[in-house]
Structures are given as structure tokens and as C-alpha cells.
Amino acid sequence: MSSKSSIISQIKKLNMEEKPLPEIPDFTIAEDLKSTFSESIAGNKGLVVPVSELEELITLSKFSKIFSSCPQFSHHCNCEVPPHPAGFADLDLAILEGQVAVAENGAIWLDESNLEMRAIPFITSHLVIVIKEENLVGNMHQAYDKIGLDHSGFGVFIAGPSKTADIEQSLVVGAHGAMSLRVVIV
């Protein structure tokens, strides 16, 4: 007997009484989505910045390798997606578009329509995500409503830069993923 058949039959043999599956109700959401989102993402060590501040930052930073799949910032893009992720190991900055942004926790949903290559938001040293204000929602339930049963092979909620507190609970920003996350709300 295969392991699958063995496991399934062990469960079936228990003849468990079915318990009901609840419906998920609506909950109250924050009134000011934009400022709640900004607070949430700041709490995760990310930052909402105006376009002007971002432009200034890029100018001052002297980033040598910048990738952008966001039309609004395509003038900064000076490289192409390489055939293998390792080709982006030296990527300084990635500017990507997000689809849905959640006010309660700063999470932003991106899927393969925003990611030409899955590794981009993780392997880059610094990350900027651009979101439209009309795509802000209050909580995760609303986010999943908006995303639906969408068929992308990969999707991710990114809520901040990479971080860790594994060294005696001291929070350090910049573990293995991006060392910073800036969000531009347009």
C-alpha cells in the first residue's frame, strides 16, 4: 500500500464527525487608510516616502545598478533582468509596483505580473515598491477579496525590509533580503 493510501485510509477509519466551516464576517477598518498604512509600515522598519524624496535619495546614493519595472521610474533603470538570479546579486536598487496594500500591517501584494523574476525583491540590496492609493485596503480579508483566486505561480506579501532579532532580541534591519524598503503612494 502506498503511503498516500495508508495515510488517507487511517484518517477515513476514524470516521470523524464533520465540524462546521465558519464564514468570515466583515470587520471595522481604519478610517484613514493612508496614514494607518504609513504607521504600520514604519512599525515594520519600512518607510513611506514622497516621490521627490525618492528621486533625491537615488541621486545622492550613487547606486550603480538599478532595476525598475515601474513605468513612472523607468528613467532610473540601467539594467535588464539576467538569465539567472545570480546575475542580480550586485543589484543595488529595485523599483517595483505592488497591487494591493494593507493598512493594518503594511503588507503589499506582488505577484508574477509585477515580478519578472521571483528573486528580485529579495536579492536586491534596497527595495522600493510603488502603490496606487486606490489600491489601499483596511485588512487582510479585504486584501484576499481583492486578489481573489488569482492564478499567479508565485505571490508575496512584503511588509518591510529583511530583519532579524535572533541576536539577543536586538532588532537588526537587513538580514538576508533587502536592507531597506521604501514605499511610494501615488
Binding site: 485588512n139 530583519k163 541576536i167 537588526v172 538580514a175 538576508h176
Partner: protein
């Protein structure tokens, strides 16, 4: 292996034990702060509990749905009856890829199955990429907490091992410096690895996808650079619908560390073009636990670790004192199902205070299951008169309750015997506590005199 003996040892280093307790209490406080910002928190817990109980009651149905949909998405689904099979499947995939070095992100399931030693015996280098896990891997220790594996270590401990393994400056305990060193070191490993192993936080039956949550981004760094992604999932980690993720992702990080959400929540549905994605569904005793009606609900667990952070005993004895892969309150109701004899002291390593049950995001009645395991353990140990007498002799008679049985004579003797006799070393109660002062008469005696 006895929890009390390990706990006593842990407490010998008073200042370190206090630091450990304080550190975990702070995590509990962070959790409290954030949950009080969610007015519907208790409702979310109820919903999560109901969703999990429903799923467990139809687990066969949902497992088959998950397999069907995942396979249609291009994921290769494997089933493992036990730890050995889980390890073999992984070993085979790695061999097929002619791979000798792999990266792995946090998966307590792989700890449970002892995957690392299995692969290392085959000559495969396993690099645990979660920072806490890499640290304990260097130190050849198991995790002491399921979410914060290196919580028992101080900066100086980590600085020392990094100096040895990564050639960081001796004595430099700056967390930023140490983390940067780890980032550089592990980046090399990510870029070289052809196979990446992850755990699974949630498997979604409806869409055939699974979700992995991290703060460090190490799971993603591993799988998006490698050609083959192997995801290991306990069969109980299933939820029915994609929208159920809304509930669980709102509960998980808040319960675990007090964050509103982890920084990365990756949803894997299909392999990237040209790559492979494997999902291993593992039983390893879970169907047995499912069959134990009183303990079935322990399988609702989403591995947040909140019960460990709140447990006054865990905080004062450390994860290692439990001797089990999963320690603390949840570990104490899962482990006896695996080996009743080996883990028989664990359900007694508790005052049944109930704090764990009240922080559990999926409302597992942990403290009630601890009580029920005690009944099972004494049953297994035999309830002969001798058995009871033994238990009583070891426990009850050494407490003040014993004196009740002996009545007036004993109470009188308590007043008149010298302290050295009463507080002899064999009397465990008296080691650090005085016995209660002895009144002149019992309530019964007073009542008879004054009220009858």
C-alpha cells in the same frame, strides 16, 4: 530525561535564568500590546479554531484536494508515512540533482525527522539559513524555541562562535556587525545552492498552494536562486480556502513576536519556468494523534510559540529541559503521543495555570490536555496500590497536605519538634519554604464548639 532535574540545573545559574525569563516575558508583552489593538482579536481566535477543527474533521478530503490542485499547478506531491520516508524522499531528490550542498530555511518538521544528520551522513552539506538556526547549527545544538531557536544564547555566545566559524573580530558583540557577517556568509551559500528546502506554514487545499512566512527573507533567497525547491509539510498544516489565510496571517506573527505580520509571506503555487517544486506531505504519527479524541485538537497548532513565551515554567527552565523537538506547553501535549514513557514528566511540568490556552491563537485547550495526559500516564504506569502509594510517597506526603491525614497528633508534633527534624533535606517542601504556622484548632473543631 526528567524535566525537574533539568529545570533545577537551569535555575542554578540564577542571573542567566532571570535574563532568559525576562527576555521571553518581553516577547509576551509585545504580543499583548499588539493584540489589544485588534478589537476583533477574540473573534479571530474563535474563527481560526473553528476552521482548523473543521479541516481536521475532513482531513482526508482536504489532503486529496490539495494534492489534486497542487499537481495541476505543476507541483510534485509526495507522501511520507514517517520520518525515515520523509528523509529518503529528500535524499533521493538531492541525489537526482547531483547536489552536495543545500540550503534550508526554518522547519521544525525537518528537526522532528532529524533530516540534517541523515543528509550529512550521505555527504551532503546542509546550511540552515535562518540566522538563529545557523548559530545553533555552528554550536551543534538543537533549537530551544520553535520560533526563536537561539533565544537561550547571549550576544557574547554568538560573538564567540562567529569568531571561530566566520572569523569575525574577537569580542565584537555588536548585533549589527554580527548580522552583517552572517549576511555575507549566507549570501555565498544561497548563490551556490541548487536545492533549497523550506517548511510550510499553511497549505491551501482550494488553490493547491502553500505559504512560507519569514522576517529574514532567507526562505525566498534560497528557493528563488536554487533550481529545486523542496517544501516539507506536516499533514495538519492545511486550511481549506485561500481567504482563510486572512485569518491566520493576522493571528500568526502577532501571537509569535508581537509584529503585525512577518515581512515576507510567500505564496507558492507553481514552480518558476524551468525549475522544480516538490511538496512532501508528512504523517509521522499525526494520524495517531488525530485518533486520540482528547488530544486531537493539539493538531490545530500553527507553531507560533506564544505558549512558550507565556509559560512561567518554560521561561524558567529553558527549551532544552523538555528534551523534545517541540518544547513548552504544546510540546508537552504532542510529545507523550510520540513516546509516553520518555516524555512522561512533561505534562507534570506545569501548574495548569491556563495561560498557554488563553494566548493560543487557535484556542487549543493546552492546559486541559496536560491534565488529560496525566491521567493517561498514571494509567500506563499502573494503578496498583503500590503504584499509588509510590506516587503519594513521592509527592503528596511531602506536602503539608500529608499532615491533614495524620490529624491532631501530627499538628501537635509540628509545634514541638525542633526545626532540624522538620526541615531535614529529604523534606522537599521545606528546602526553601517554611511550613504554614500551626493553629490551635481546626475549623471543624471551632465549628463544633461554636456553631453546633
Amino acid at each position: 530525561m526528567s524535566h525537574p532535574a533539568n529545570a533545577a540545573l537551569f535555575l542554578k545559574d540564577q542571573s542567566r535564568a532571570k535574563w532568559h525569563d525576562e527576555t521571553l516575558w518581553i516577547v509576551r508583552q509585545k504580543r499583548d500590546l499588539t493584540i489589544h489593538q485588534i478589537p476583533e482579536w477574540e473573534q479571530l481566535r474563535d474563527l481560526a479554531s473553528q476552521i482548523k477543527e473543521h479541516t481536521l474533521s475532513k482531513l482526508d478530503f482536504y489532503l486529496e484536494e490539495l494534492e489534486r490542485n497542487a499537481t495541476a499547478n505543476g507541483i510534485k506531491v509526495h507522501w511520507a508515512e514517517n520520518a525515515a520516508e520523509h528523509n529518503e524522499i529528500i535524499g533521493r531528490i538531492i541525489d537526482e540533482k547531483n547536489c552536495t550542498a543545500i540550503v534550508k530555511s526554518k522547519s521544525i518538521l525537518t528537526e522532528e525527522c532529524h533530516l540534517n544528520p541523515f543528509l550529512e551522513a550521505k555527504g551532503i552539506e546542509v546550511v540552515d539559513t535562518d540566522l538563529g538556526e545557523r548559530i545553533i547549527q555552528f554550536l551543534k545544538q538543537p533549537p530551544s524555541h520553535i520560533v526563536m531557536p537561539a533565544i537561550h544564547l547571549k550576544k557574547s555566545d554568538i560573538s564567540d562562535i562567529f569568531h571561530e566559524k566566520l572569523q569575525t573580530e574577537k569580542g565584537n558583540i555588536d548585533p549589527v556587525y554580527l548580522t552583517q557577517a552572517a549576511r555575507l556568509h549566507l549570501r555565498e551559500k544561497f548563490l551556490q545552492a541548487k536545492v533549497a528546502i523550506t517548511g510550510v506554514n499553511f497549505g491551501v487545499a482550494e488553490t493547491g498552494e502553500f505559504v512560507v512566512c519569514t522576517n529574514e527573507g532567507n526562505a525566498d533567497m534560497g528557493v528563488h536562486i536554487a533550481d529545486t525547491h523542496i517544501a516539507c509539510m506536516g499533514i495538519e498544516k492545511l486550511i481549506p480556502r485561500r481567504k482563510d489565510l486572512g485569518i491566520f496571517l493576522r493571528l500568526l506573527a502577532r501571537s509569535a513576536t508581537g509584529q503585525s505580520i512577518t515581512n515576507y509571506n510567500s505564496h507558492f503555487r507553481s514552480p518558476a519556468p524551468g525549475k522544480e517544486l516538490h511538496l512532501i506531505l508528512v504523517n509521522n504519527g499525526r494520524t495517531k494523534q488525530l485518533g486520540r479524541e482528547k488530544f486531537r485538537n493539539s493538531l490545530k497548532c500553527i507553531r507560533c510559540g506564544a505558549c512558550m513565551n507565556t509559560c512561567p515554567i518554560y521561561r524558567r527552565s529553558g527549551g532544552f529541559s523538555y528534551g523534545s523537538t517541540v518544547p513548552g506547553p504544546i510540546g508537552s501535549i504532542l510529545s507523550p503521543g510520540i513516546d509516553l514513557k520518555k516524555y512522561s514528566t512533561l505534562p507534570f511540568a506545569s501548574t495548569l495555570c491556563g495561560s498557554c490556552s488563553d494566548v493560543c491563537p487557535v484556542k487549543i485547550n493546552i492546559h486541559e490536555q496536560l491534565y488529560e495526559w496525566r491521567q493517561e500516564i498514571t494509567k500506563a504506569q499502573g494503578t496498583s496500590a503500590k503504584g499509588i502509594a509510590m506516587k503519594l510517597a513521592n509527592g503528596l506526603f511531602q506536602s503539608p497536605l500529608a499532615y491533614r491525614l495524620s490529624g491532631k497528633a501530627m499538628r501537635a508534633s509540628l509545634k514541638n519538634l525542633p526545626n532540624s527534624v522538620i526541615y531535614n533535606p529529604l523534606n522537599v517542601w521545606g528546602k526553601s519554604r517554611d511550613l504554614p504556622p500551626v493553629p490551635t484548632e481546626t475549623f471543624k473543631e471551632w465549628y463544633k464548639k461554636n456553631k453546633k
